[in-house]
């Protein structure tokens, strides 16, 4: 029973990180209808920004930790906007396949530039937040895990507020429903799309910091697997739906953790893909999504 609860806790904390990343994917897909492969590397960039930031901040206080996270979020937001502006915007009217390929190109560029300039070997991520382990009976909860869950919850609430209670959020929803109609009623599509990228990338940046705090070995390829899994989570929850992405992330994190604790542990990556395949075959709209009929 204790093991089950511990694994559940591990799963929720892993799932929260996937949720943050998945929301980023879903936001971009909502407005641009393509999968931003480079999102995972923005996540990695966030972790590296945090690494550099952590050198300057006095460590071990929640305030400085949050400051570094804020710095990372700003940095990744800018990176995301730059990527959109220079790599994706010229292809706005091109077939989706081309944009997909560009996204792969951007992803590879970030990864290999990172390898060149930071070195491919993992480096130690400094502890940004004070560490404490709480023991509830036989259960061990680390403060980092709690932080992940807490920050994710706050960010999701913040996001929902922005999307449903602000004008810019309404504009975002308009663009994702029908870009042409949105521009006809006066929405500046380009600005909204930039803003969406900024938002998604900032979440990725936060995710990068939280991930690095929990698993303090960062390297330029650290985003690849979490990115793929977060995408699976987004699809699982219903691509285009933010609560879906959060739910998908949580479910995936929990399932992956339980598989990892079993004898099939080395197959846990493949398991995530198996889930993707099953979902796409049997319920392509995901858990919380709606069926989209493609009109000609």
């Amino acid at each position: 029973m204790i093991e089950f609860l511990q694994q559940l806790l591990n799963g929720i904390s892993l799932g929260a990180i996937y949720a943050l990343l998945a929301i980023g994917y879903t936001l971009v897909y909502g407005v641009l209808r393509f999968i931003n492969f480079a999102h995972a590397d923005v996540f990695m960039a966030g972790a590296f920004i945090g690494w550099y930031g952590g050198q300057f901040m006095p460590s071990n206080s929640i305030g400085s930790g949050l400051a570094v996270m804020g710095m990372a979020m700003v940095g990744t937001a800018l990176l995301g906007m730059a990527i959109e502006r220079f790599a994706y915007r010229p292809l706005r009217s091109a077939p989706t396949l081309n944009v997909l390929i560009t996204a792969i190109g951007v992803s590879l560029l970030l990864e290999y530039s990172g390898q060149k300039f930071f070195g491919a070997a993992p480096r130690h991520f400094p502890p940004l937040f004070p560490r404490r382990d709480f023991n509830v009976g036989h259960l061990t909860v680390s403060s980092d895990q709690l932080l992940v869950i807490g920050v994710t919850a706050v960010l999701i609430v913040l996001l929902q507020t922005i999307i449903y209670r602000t004008r810019i959020g309404t504009a975002m929803r308009a663009v994702s429903l029908n870009p042409r109609a949105a521009s006809l009623v006066g929405v500046n599509n380009n600005r909204i799309i930039s803003f969406t990228f900024a938002l998604g990338s900032a979440l990725a940046g936060a995710g990068g910091i939280l991930y690095a705090s929990n698993y303090p070995a960062i390297d330029p390829l650290m985003g690849v697997m979490p990115g793929l899994k977060a995408f699976v989570a987004a699809v699982l929850g219903g691509i285009g739906s933010i609560p879906g992405a959060a739910l998908g992330g949580l479910v995936l994190g929990i399932v992956e953790t339980f598989v990892g604790g079993s004898s099939l542990s080395s197959g846990k990556d493949a398991f995530a893909f198996a889930i993707l395949i099953v979902i796409l075959l049997f319920r392509p709209s995901g858990l919380l999504g709606r069926m989209n009929v493609e009109k000609v």
């Binding site: 093991e3 511990q6 993992p122 382990d133 036989h138």
Partner: protein, 395 residues
């Protein structure tokens, strides 16, 4: 499928773009063929090749052994080289990637005309290169690959370190006899051949001694989260965990194990040997033990002298086991070269095979009939994030 329909289809006009493509490739090909790679080795020198993982996941292994090797070659050259010539070292990086070793070793042999190939630390990549060296009859000396299969590739393949059966057995004995552990879990990598091999030998000996291994978990290289596996291990109530992996994952495993409240000792092999391991584990590196090839704290005079010379050459860096192995690899090569009296591959091979009691910094090295070195292992203990030498295990 109606094949007749398919294959009787006529051809199309050759588009001008096709012609352009063709011309372009031909031009490139011609340019390449004409392009002779200038040999950068100075005339009248002996060329030896090294392949190592200078970048990538196991970068510290490659970089350390490379530094040790370079020091060894430089020292040999300073005392006149061998056979009256200077030794020129050509280094290629395999980027810790599968498949690269094959291409670069072929290049070293056929383009650089090396008399011997020195490398690698990671067993998987040595296994890739060994068949090629054997096929081309160029002696290969691995400084630190411990998987037994490497030297079984042929009689031109040697190593200057111990092999996993010995290492695994040594750690099993240590766990059982010295730490008095009877129930141990094994957490190994599913993707690194070294890890699977070492785990196997540990388990064999540990069970033979009467120990129990109630749970075995695997992870993939590159994984960051081991809490799932560790939680399952914790629930199995074991007295210790054997983690025969590479430092990048082991560091995180140590940290997460302690976080989850696992106080049992963690044990491992020479894959732990890296400064990054301590960084990643931090203060959680406590009550941990691993076997390796040497310790800089060994008070033997030749070891201390080596440590000082290495620090002088490489900006105060203290040599780790991989560096020491690289140094000894170079040393054995030069020694064999002198004894062979020529660069003829067969003679060189025989001289290497005849290496006896070479005074290496990783121990007195004798190459046995199976082309492995019979050497003692060293067990290092990690306490509060610091490593110190615990004991030597004789072969």
């Amino acid at each position: 499928m109606r094949l007749s329909v398919v294959f009787s289809a006529g051809s199309e006009m050759v588009h001008s773009s096709h012609r352009l493509a063709l011309l372009g490739t031909l031009a490139l090909g011609a340019a390449l063929m004409g392009c002779r790679q200038k040999s950068s080795a100075p005339a009248n020198s002996i060329v030896v090749g090294e392949f190592a993982s200078l970048t990538g996941k196991e970068a510290t292994f490659g970089q350390s052994s490379n530094e040790g090797l370079i020091l060894g070659i430089e020292e040999a050259n300073a005392t006149g080289g061998a056979l009256g010539k200077q030794i020129h070292l050509v280094v290629e990086d395999d980027g810790s990637t599968n498949g690269e070793a094959i291409t670069i070793v072929k290049k070293l042999i056929s383009r650089d005309h090396v008399v011997a190939v020195l490398g690698e630390i990671a067993s998987g990549r040595s296994l890739e290169a060994a068949p090629i060296c054997q096929e081309e009859k160029i002696p290969m000396i691995s400084p630190g690959s411990t998987n037994p299969a490497v030297t079984q590739k042929g009689d031109y393949i040697f190593r200057v370190c111990f092999i996993d059966p010995f290492q695994g057995t040594a750690m099993a004995k240590f766990a059982h006899d010295q730490l008095h552990l009877n129930r141990v879990a094994v957490l190994s990598s599913a993707t690194a051949p070294y890890s699977a091999g070492l785990a196997h030998y540990f388990e064999e000996r540990f069970r033979a001694d009467g120990g129990e291994i109630p749970i075995e978990e695997k992870y993939n290289d590159g994984d960051k989260d081991f809490r799932a596996e560790l939680t399952a291990i914790k629930a199995a109530n074991v007295q210790g965990i054997f983690v025969p992996g590479y430092y990048s994952e082991v560091g995180l495993i140590c940290a997460q194990a302690r976080e989850l409240g696992i106080t049992a000792p963690l044990m491992g092999g020479d894959g732990w040997e890296s400064p990054i391991m301590l960084q990643l584990a931090g203060a959680a590196a406590d009550n941990c033990y691993y076997s390796t090839h040497y310790s800089p704290q060994n008070t033997a005079p030749n070891v201390q002298s080596f440590v000082k010379r290495f620090q002088k050459r490489w900006n105060g860096e203290t040599p780790d086991a991989m560096a020491a192995l690289g140094y000894d690899c170079a040393g054995v090569f030069v020694d064999a070269l002198k004894r062979a009296g020529s660069t003829d591959p067969q003679a060189l091979r025989d001289a290497i095979a005849a290496t006896k009691n070479y005074p290496g910094v990783t121990g007195v090295t004798t190459i046995g009939p199976d082309r492995n070195a019979v050497k003692p292992a060293v067990i290092i203990e990690l306490e509060h994030g610091e490593s110190h030498f615990l004991q030597t295990v004789a072969p």
